[in-house]
Amino acid sequence: MEGKTPVLALEGVSKSFGPVQALSDVDFHVNPGEVVALVGDNGAGKSTLVKTIAGIHPADNGRIVFEGEEVRITGPTDAVNLGIATVYQDLALCDNLDVVENLFLGREKGLFALDETSMEKQAGELLGRLAVTIVDVRSEVGTLSGGQRQQVAIARSLLGDPKVVVLDEPTAALGVRQTALVLDLIRRLKDEGHAVVVISHNLADVFEVADRIFVLRLGREAGDFQARDTSEEQVVAAITGATGGREAER
């Protein structure tokens, strides 16, 4: 993995909210086909980092390099146009609309004559490709289970064919089976060559899907581990600050 050009790289990124330094001098990158888990305690800066990438809180300083070129992300549209899709924890689905309608929300086909057949067909193909288990794409999203809703939200982020998919706590509040569905889906994203950034509190989930684990602590990088060479204790130590994790990087 190390030889590749990262699809997205942040270099020396800082962000403060008034007197609060949420991120200081963070270097972060993700390669194509790689799943990077972003972990850290509450307030460590995970959400801020994600929002910097998504353009919701543009960075104060530092460089952002996308596919080898320096870019500016000053708003959500910049991020989307680059090919960075973000799925937030509150899924931002409309419960009163069906699966197809939610998938195509904001990018409907046909301004004055919605092309329902084409959208439904494409939705079916997309969900099939991701092996998402939804019986009827015309059922209201409000009727779906939590895992299915998460799958719909993730699938929706893929419609724009993004290079980077950012998932904010995708398995929080899900049961064991539902979590397995979502983790499967993350693996499938990786297999399709998407770069995936996952925020998670659950280290078991993290070790199950992540290639690399990036730890934030108090707004600073506290460790960057290859998941397969790392133990849970090492990661916990980095999260809590018991050790520096730097030396474990290589």
């Binding site: 419960d95 409000g142 289970s145 939590g146």
Partner: protein, 406 residues
């Protein structure tokens, strides 16, 4: 943790396959088949009044009933769109009176052509909607309050427009003709056949397209049954109307607007966005929908339809006076779609509810008139019907939630 919303409750509800009949019953209980519920209610109301007074179902009375329902139905179309957003517009009654007054003064006193006068009245409504919608979105004041201010203010403007006498009689044949034009039997039948043919073609072609694309399609038998039902309703309606004075222009106007806005709400991107904003405004915003623009346009439509309804009401009354658009007119226009099953909480409803609800309300009012009931009783019965309808809606909502749906 906010993602937990449906999580825990819905996790238990793995995809279940209910047998079709139970499914139909479940959908009925959960309020998905609100239209069917209203049609049944309408049938019951008609049966009750028919037993009491058999003139109720005479073609003359039914034609009158439909004509009486036109103005409320037109205003209610705009209300449906506002309710779909999860908002309310309390100013539609006042706006209908003001816009009718503007039209009446321009045509009867200033000598404008009726077409220009009607256009001016309607556009005045659009402008008012733009104003109210902009205040609502720009200052993030609840629509309830903004339109409440309108409810208080526009009748003042109406008095100002009407001048000292406070009444303008309408004599222009074009304007009075809006509610007093009836087409010959032949024209009525031609319209009926065109409507049935168009519905059948749209239904069958739509199915053919889905089959060609390899998508699941409604069984042909169900669609044919649906077409037959629509054909029967249309043919019976035309038969009844023809038995009296013929197909009224007012009915064509009402049905035309309903069809137009039904198309807008269900088949256009803008319509989809109305439902999205009403269902989850934050989700809509994140999906890139210009939420406030959708809101302003919907308020413009609501006031425009209020103006259209006000003009039709004026045409029927042959005058505009200080009480045009006042009294229970506003409440009937809001009650109509709610009775028919449009949710007050946004995101659920149909433009057809405006028409069906207006028919239900007008049937009750008309029937009580025929039986000579006192005004006091009429008000209370109307209120009770509205309350009952909203209770049914609330029960349906609870059933949906119990089934893990929102």
């Amino acid at each position: 943790m906010s993602a937990a919303g449906g999580g825990a409750a819905a996790a238990a509800a793995e995809p279940e396959v209910a047998p079709p009949r139970a499914d139909l019953l479940r959908r009925f209980v959960q309020g998905d088949l609100a239209e069917l519920r209203v049609v049944i209610a309408l049938a019951v109301i008609w049966a009750i009044f028919y037993v009491q007074e058999d003139r109720f179902l005479s073609s003359v009375n039914l034609t009158n009933l439909v004509l009486q329902a036109t103005a409320v139905g037109l205003v209610a179309i705009g209300i449906v769109l506002v309710l779909l957003l999860g908002e309310i517009d309390l100013s539609v009654g006042a706006v209908s009176g003001l816009c009718a007054a503007i039209m009446a003064v321009l045509v009867e006193q200033e000598g404008w052509s009726p077409y220009l006068g009607i256009a001016a009245g309607v556009l005045a409504g659009t402008a008012i909607g733009f104003f109210q919608g902009s205040i609502f979105t720009r200052f993030a004041i609840p629509s309830f309050v903004v339109t409440l201010a309108g409810l208080l203010a526009w009748p003042g403007a109406q008095l100002e427009v009407l001048g000292e006498t406070g009444t303008v009689n309408l004599t222009d044949p074009k304007i009075t003709g809006l509610t007093n034009t009836f087409y010959s039997d032949t024209v009525g039948w031609i319209f009926a056949l065109l409507a049935i043919g168009a519905f059948a073609a749209a239904t069958l072609l739509g199915r053919q397209r889905r089959v060609r694309e390899g998508l699941s399609a409604t069984p042909l038998g169900t669609l044919v049954l649906r077409i037959v039902l629509v054909a029967v309703v249309v043919l019976v309606a035309i038969w009844v109307l023809n038995d009296d004075r013929g197909l009224p222009l007012a009915v064509l106007i009402l049905v035309g607007f309903v069809l137009f806005f039904f198309y807008v709400t269900t088949r256009t991107t803008f319509g989809r966005h109305i439902f999205a904003v009403g269902g989850n405004a934050e989700a809509a915003r994140r999906a890139g929908i210009k939420v406030n623009r959708v809101r302003v346009i919907v308020f413009m439509i609501a006031s425009t339809m209020a103006a259209v309804g006000g003009i039709m009401a004026a045409s029927r009354l042959l005058a505009v006076n200080q009480s045009s658009g006042a009294g229970e007119f506003l409440l009937l226009a809001i009650a109509a779609p709610v009775i028919a099953g449009t949710s007050l909480f946004g995101g659920r409803g149909s433009v057809w509810h405006a028409l069906l609800g207006a028919l239900v309300i007008q049937s009750i009012l008309n029937g009580m008139d025929l039986l000579g009931w006192e005004t006091a009783v009429k008000f209370m019965v109307t209120g009770a019907v509205l309350l009952a309808a909203v209770m049914v809606d609330a029960i349906a909502r609870r059933q949906r939630e119990r089934a893990g749906r929102v």
